[in-house]
């Protein structure tokens, strides 16, 4: 190695020469490349988000007296949220939803699919992958119909299969249904991410483990998982955030029955539209954003600890 003579860690006196990146782009042109995207993101994502934060400290509603002259109410929307049993309920349900459908459902099913499909016959693999992806790309409104039909009380497919005519799944077990639904809907992403992650696991390591007589589970735990830990965390982070902000439960249950499946985004929607309380709903949105941030930071910490 070339490290025998300790290289002096001085910053070189940068002389102007050809651009240093591979395509000769240069910093200024690179900024030009990034600018349109940043502009759009700034205008249609960051700006509304900041605005939302502002609305969150007012008692703004779209109609009524407060529409004319909304007043700044400080943090009272936030204190209200902290005492709002329905918000607590929504938060709890969101946690269940994320935990059940993303962290456990999509993650595990996605990994299982990626893991088993690796060695499956191409025809089998293509069919299964196409089905899983189809579930992912169908428009959500259409998907909502599919699942309402699936769970239907009278003529639903599930009841026909199980012979449990008359069981109102969406009423009796709303969260279970949502978790199932979202697992079905989102597994494709985890599957794709894990299949590409698994390609990065050197086959020789899997085979080594096999040579030592390790069982499938031992191999996954001792060899595969440490390799794809980063991917697992990134994937879990992404799907958790997406699931936490997912609005499609509304299409299935509208939050019902009796708030039993009212996750935070659905609650926000109901507060904003049914109640018209935009100030309050913005405050809750902001709380959700903070929660997302906290979760993301936690994941990032875990990720960093790895190295």
């Amino acid at each position: 190695m070339a490290t025998t003579t300790e290289p002096a860690p001085v910053q070189p006196a940068r002389v102007r020469g050809p651009a240093q990146d591979v395509a000769g782009l240069g910093i200024s042109r690179a900024l030009g490349f990034v600018a349109p995207a940043l502009l759009l993101i700034g205008a249609f994502l960051v700006f509304p988000a900041v605005w939302t934060i502002y609305i969150g400290i007012t008692n703004y509603r779209l109609t009524g007296v407060e529409a004319v002259s909304p007043s700044i109410v400080g943090l009272s929307n936030y204190t209200k949220a902290l005492n709002d049993a329905l918000f607590h309920n929504a938060l709890w349900l969101t946690c269940l939803f994320v935990l059940g459908s993303a962290v456990i459902g999509q993650n595990i099913l996605g990994f299982a699919l990626a893991w088993t499909m690796r060695r499956a016959r191409p025809a089998v693999r293509r069919t299964v992958e196409a089905l899983v992806l189809l579930a992912w790309i169908l428009p959500s409104t259409v998907v909502a119909y599919l699942w309402i039909a699936f769970f239907d009380r009278d003529t639903g497919t599930l009841n026909s299969i199980l012979g449990t005519q008359g069981t109102a799944w969406l009423i009796d077990y709303p969260m279970v249904c949502l978790v199932l639904f979202n697992t079905w809907r989102g597994t494709a992403f985890s599957m794709m991410l894990y299949s590409s992650a698994l390609q990065a696991v050197p086959p020789s390591q899997l085979e080594s483990a096999r040579m030592f007589g390790a069982s499938g589970w031992q191999t996954v735990r001792d060899v595969v998982f440490p390799h794809i830990r980063g991917h697992v965390l990134t994937n879990t982070l992404l799907i958790s955030l997406w699931t936490a902000n997912d609005f499609s439960p509304f299409l299935l249950t509208k939050g019902g029955p009796n708030h039993e499946s009212e996750t935070v985004p659905v609650y926000i929607y109901n507060v904003a539209l049914q109640g018209g309380e935009l100030g309050y709903s913005s405050a809750i949105s902001f709380l959700l954003l903070i929660a997302n941030l906290l979760v993301a930071l936690l994941y990032l910490r875990l990720l960093r600890r790895r190295s």
């Binding site: 609305i55 779209l62 529409a67 309402i148 009380r153 029955p257 049914q274 018209g276």
Partner: protein
Amino acid sequence: GCLGSSDSGSGDTDANRNADAKKVDLVIGANSVKGGKNSAGAEFTQDVLIPKFVEAQKAKGVDVTVKFEGDGSDDEVYKQKLALSLSNKAGPDLISVDGIWVGEFAQAGYIKPLTDTVGDTAKVDDWDGWKQIQDSVQQLGMFEGKRYGVPAGTDGRVLYFNKKLFQQAGLPADWQPKSWDEIISAGQALKKLQGVTPIQINAGTAMGEATSMQGVLPLLVGTGATINTDGKWLGDSPQVRQVLDLYKQVYGSGLGDPVLQREAKGRDKSFAEFAANKIGILLEGDYFWRSVVEPKDGVAKMADRDTAVGYALIPASKAGGGVKGQDFVSMSGGGATAINPNTKFPQQAWELLQFMNSAEMVKASLNGAAKITQRTDVNSEVLAGDPMLNFVATKVLPVTQYRPGLAEYPKISAALQQATADVVGGKSTDAAAKSYQTAVEAAAGSKDKVSSN
């Protein structure tokens, strides 16, 4: 400012602006769209009303272009979109709003009294159409005693019953209960039939406002109370508890199917079950008769509707126990058409509004169908052939009540729905009523705005 219309400043306030314009553009906005479920309304506006109006104006030498902006969506979403437009001083010139939004929109300054917009009090008040609209119906377009819009049709609620099932249960075909107890006893008789849900009264949060309109509110007025009296909202009170007790009785003793009330599509389901002769008694509006079990185009057709479906007035809890001492009660809803205060052509918009509500146009809008319109002259003509609608127009409308058009109403309504959901879900009346009180207080903003006698 960042939030809506806090600065009303620069808008053109001259009511006679562009009054003499020879080239006029108007836009009508409504939550109906061709091919949607309220297709007929959109079709009428686009294919009949607009051409006719354009023609009439042409005769006067004015070149008018009228556009129809139809939406097809959830009422709440439509309302939000409309409010957003209005708060930005935009939106259609004529807007159709639900009666209960009039108050909130007026408070927000999105709509103004017609006299303000048109500028000339006489011009508005002298419209001959007002005479044809019953006072109770005019309430739909009014707020704090001022006219904000012209009502656009109304409806009423009754108890439907399945005569075939009644016959099997040995109940009369001309059933008319006079108290809640009679409903319950009819239900108990029906309960003996196999596979029949005796009574279905909307409850729960899943079907939203349907629970209030086709459930709690008609029952509540049957106890003699109204949800808002003199600016105070009704809180945890004997009347509310009485209503909740009834729910408890129906759904706790197997007279009703609680699951139906919890499903997102539960109302559609109950329609289908009624049409399939599986529900005995159903509290619904005349919409049910016109569009659901209608033999030709209904969504749950009943070929033998005219013979098989009976209807009765909703009784007060006991004779004379209803609001204003009535024996029978009902709730009504309906929309109104208002003028966007920011229209470029206020005078022409008012003309269009009048034209739209002329006897000729109102009749044309029905396109041969029977429906309760805002105009009595039209009603007496078109409802003659439909005993049921005639029944509503003549027997129900006189005893009916409207919801208060206040911004807090939706939350109060939600609280009522929640209370029924609690009861149907198994909570005690007491507990449900108590949490109702809390919810109402939060919705009203302060304890003083709530009465709990």
